[in-house]
Symmetry: C2
Subunit: 171 residues, 2 copies
Amino acid sequence: MKEEKTIESKQIYKGKVVQLRVDTVSLPDGRRKMREIVVHPGAAAIVPLMNEGEEVLLVEQYRKAVERKTLEIPAGTLEEGESPEECAKRELIEETGFQASKLDKLIEYYPSPGFSSEIIHVFKARGLKKVSDAEAELSITFVPLEELLAMIKRGEIKDSKTVIGVLMVAR
Amino acid sequence: MKEEKTIESKQIYKGKVVQLRVDTVSLPDGRRKMREIVVHPGAAAIVPLMNEGEEVLLVEQYRKAVERKTLEIPAGTLEEGESPEECAKRELIEETGFQASKLDKLIEYYPSPGFSSEIIHVFKARGLKKVSDAEAELSITFVPLEELLAMIKRGEIKDSKTVIGVLMVAR
């Protein structure tokens, strides 16, 4: 099983967050296939731990792509030249008003490697201190880690970075 | 925090796997924003458990979107009119040649709810029996569950459905 060689690459769309391109690739056996690829700059997410790690700070927001409110760990898209760690800290402050004194990498993962280049870097954060107000569009909430695990099991949390971040912290 | 009302929806691309549209939405405070949305039919994935649940059957494949080989649980895109369970069974046989006698839902999740409508339904499977040959493009491999957990921790497995499926089975 070898790599797929790009024969042709066609840019379909270049937007604010995502780009879309369609590649024609040649497989190792010589056949050609089309690959629809969403190009994404990557993201950073943070599991903010409070009260000796017993509670997690979450944000609730409306997600147009899935037409529903979701409960998620704070996160955001990498800006140009920004490291995942800088992005995680910036998004934590912007979305919640909290600053973290200690960050540790939990995992980095591909949400949908079948069609999307996006990689999400997930950190856990400790030493949280309120330094400003949260974004008006988001409401923040504190949920015990044990309750979050039960919510994942009951299907009440469906966001990949939140599921992965919480399960990794709980291990 | 209320829903975002669609003012205008513009289809940019309709492909084989994904569609792309750009919505203009009005926020609860009256402001307007653009939302780039990848429309995906959804997918099903399966954690195939062998040897009393001690080993997992995985497939290795090249993923053009991330330009690398990945080790993943078997999975695929929902076909029209197909239930997630039917899709999971079909993809398991197509990708590995194994048929499952017992399927249980582990979770359903949104890989990237910020811009993608995709939902992935994850099952665990038992009672596996070899019934045909696997797809030529994929190589299958059996990995102990404990080793998979170590590989996730070491960053050697980065695919969201595999990380989530393995962590959910291990709980």
